[in-house]
């Protein structure tokens, strides 16, 4: 029998601390839709998405009602679209993207990921076409999200692909300049991209995944923050390991809620259940911030010495709690630091306590990378590439996922404010130190070899 205290603790998380299921993401394999002409393939894509995901939103809403837990986003992640683009023309890429956009609208999901290419070792014509089509795709569709994997621990870093991505990011920013470069918020560049990540913009159905699968992303920074605050209220001198323990227990509960919802959605749709990804993914709302957790731990200024250690503590405790909660933990699982989407991080950047370089250090121990960073519109392509290369190097050498979502804002300079609204939030254009200092290095292109995996000291 349940105890009153347990019931009230769960209720408090749900009603007062913003515990929700951030996303139920259905992965769909589209590889069997390859057909010619392109019009036939596009129709097959639309039909398959409608068939597989037609009931997704309705079922998620029913299960959300049953358990009294919000399912904030319902999304789709398809197999890498670059495979469908082999031997096609630029107009085919746009037609396919628009079909994905339309199908996503038909089944009422807010985003669809999988406009993806995996180019860590080399690039096929279809993958090049996909990348080159991104300015048109991301400016003319609403729901399509794109991701490109440019590096892996196994393959090293494809510096030529990074250079193409740097150019592409600037072109996407210019193609969406009337929305302050918003198209770039839907493009993530990865190292070691996970095949089962349910969070956007990097969600896609990777190789080795089932035909159709439900992956769930749970969040809950508000829950973790309140747990830390309660601990410190009751024991003001508590140690860092006590905080880690509290975070771990809280992560357990949050993960379990996500797995319950995900498994039931999968069961009722008759598809596989994949993973639950517990990632502390903030929203711009006060009380739903990862930065506030660091502040609750005792960091008065985010970015101060000790911030990287705080990120490491949080990230590790979240992973441990999640791993104990479920045998189906996957995706990114840890703490995100998307600057624009987190009001406390955005304020720290605006106040100058949190620099791009400090954020980069934090990404070595958090679960993703430099996420939602606003940059000056006149930034050089080599500077963008340098940031991507640095972040990829951190991921490749540390055997972890890193990604960048960089948003050059046309016509804006360091210190300018930009507001995308909604979940994408607002922020301040960040400064890049020595922006032209690595131009010659970047222009060499080529490939950075895979790191040695022995002699690990």
């Amino acid at each position: 029998m349940l105890r009153s205290r347990e019931i009230l603790a769960t209720l408090r998380m749900l009603q007062e601390e913003n515990l929700d299921v951030r996303t139920v993401t259905m992965g769909i394999n589209l590889n069997d839709c390859i057909a010619r002409p392109t019009t036939r393939m596009v129709e097959a894509v639309r039909a398959k998405i409608r068939l597989k995901a037609g009931n997704l939103v309705r079922l998620c809403d029913q299960i959300s009602t049953k358990y009294g837990i919000a399912v904030v986003n319902k999304r789709l992640a398809v197999s890498p679209v670059s495979i469908l683009l082999e031997g096609r023309a630029p107009e085919d890429a746009l037609a396919l993207a628009q079909a994905l956009d339309d199908a996503a609208a038909d089944v009422d999901v807010n985003l669809i990921g999988g406009f993806t290419a995996l180019v860590q070792k080399g690039m096929t014509p279809g993958e090049r076409l996909l990348i080159e089509s991104l300015p048109a795709v991301l400016s003319r569709t609403e729901r399509v999200c794109a991701s490109v994997n440019v590096a892996s621990t196994q393959a090293g870093i494809n510096a030529d692909a990074v250079r193409l991505l740097g150019q592409t990011i600037l072109r996407v920013a210019n193609a969406t300049r009337e929305r302050h470069g918003f198209g770039c918020a839907k493009l993530a560049v990865f190292a070691n991209i996970p095949e089962d990540n349910p969070f956007m913009a990097g969600a896609f159905l990777g190789p080795g995944e089932p035909e159709c699968v439900i992956n769930v992303g749970v969040s809950g920074p508000g829950v973790v923050k309140r747990a830390v605050e309660r601990l410190i209220e009751s024991r003001p001198d508590c140690s860092l390991d006590e905080i880690a323990e509290e975070v771990k227990h809280t992560a357990f509960r949050v993960t379990r809620a996500g797995e319950l919802v995900g498994r039931e959605v999968a069961q009722r749709l008759g598809v596989s259940f994949g993973v639950v990804d517990l990632s502390l993914a903030p929203t711009p709302r006060v009380g739903d911030s990862v930065g506030e957790i660091y502040q609750a731990m005792g960091l008065r200024a985010i970015g101060a010495p000790g911030t990287t250690a705080a990120v490491a503590l949080l990230n590790d405790a979240v992973k441990k709690g999640g791993a104990f909660a479920s045998s189906s933990v996957g995706g990114l699982s840890g703490a995100f630091i998307p600057v624009m989407e987190d009001h406390a991080l955005a304020q720290a950047v605006a106040a100058g306590t949190l620099s791009l370089e400090k954020l980069e250090a934090m990404t070595a121990v958090c679960s993703v990378g430099l996420d939602m960073i606003l940059l000056p519109g006149d930034i050089a392509v080599e500077t963008l590439c340098g940031i991507i290369l640095d972040e990829a190097a951190i991921g490749v050498v540390n055997h972890k996922t890193t990604s960048v979502r960089l948003v050059p804002v046309p016509g804006h300079r360091v210190g300018d404010r930009v507001d995308f609204g909604g979940l994408f939030g607002s922020g301040t254009v960040a400064n890049v130190n020595c922006p032209d200092g690595a131009t010659d290095f970047i222009r060499r292109g080529g490939h950075i070899p895979a790191p040695l995996r022995s002699l690990g000291n």
Binding site: L2, I7, L11, L14, Q62, G68, A257, L260, R263, S327
Partner: protein, 198 residues
């Protein structure tokens, strides 16, 4: 020769709470040769209450059981009732449906339980357990209920919320698995399969 029917009683005791009440009651019953095969005990506002079932190997008059318990308390301290256990009346089919948890929070006022239980009864909802806790003027009701399979849960939740809002209270009805998943350590898939955790 037909075997004698077993002698089994249902015993209820109500008494101001103190240490060792349950010891006194179980000693009185056990010393009469009984095996206690069911107990539910709680304390409400300082009053200890217990319901137990006891099977006797040899027939014992119910008044003997009652007096044996009363002797453990001061005169007029306890209220004791002993009735024969009627297997035919208690052998009702189990209530079918899924288990939900009802929570009500807010400032206490007369009539809350009457309103809630009337609403639940009208929907064919069976109450399995109900607890009420107070913190100053604030009250928290937590009930575990079984909801009939054909009940439209969303409509029921909405009606329940509105009924509580009319009393200036906050009310929720949620499937018990959200509470079990977040508080128990067994596999989540077992909850969905309707299997209890070991």
């Amino acid at each position: 020769m037909k075997p004698k029917p077993p002698c089994r009683f249902v015993v209820t005791v109500l008494v101001p709470d103190r240490v060792a009440i349950l010891r006194d009651i179980t000693t009185a019953v056990t010393d009469l040769g009984a095996n206690i095969d069911g107990v539910s005990q709680t304390v409400v506002n300082g009053y200890f209450t217990v319901t137990l079932t006891a099977a006797f190997a040899a027939p014992v008059p119910r008044e003997t059981v009652r007096q044996a318990i009363l002797e453990k308390f001061a005169p007029d301290e306890a209220s004791v009732d002993v009735i024969p256990h009627d297997a035919r009346r208690t052998a009702r089919p189990p209530v079918k449906g899924e288990r939900y948890v009802v929570t009500i929070t807010g400032t206490d006022r007369p009539g809350v339980l009457k309103t809630v239980t009337s609403l639940l009864a009208a929907k064919g909802v069976n109450i399995e357990d109900w607890q009420v806790g107070f913190d100053g003027p604030l009250v928290t009701h937590i009930g575990e209920i079984t909801v009939p399979p054909l009940l439209d849960i969303k409509q029921f939740q909405d009606e329940f919320r509105q009924a509580m809002a009319a009393l200036a209270l906050s009310g929720c009805v949620q499937h018990e698995n959200i509470f079990r998943a977040t508080n128990e350590v067994g596999a989540v898939r077992m909850l969905l399969e309707g299997r209890a955790h070991a």
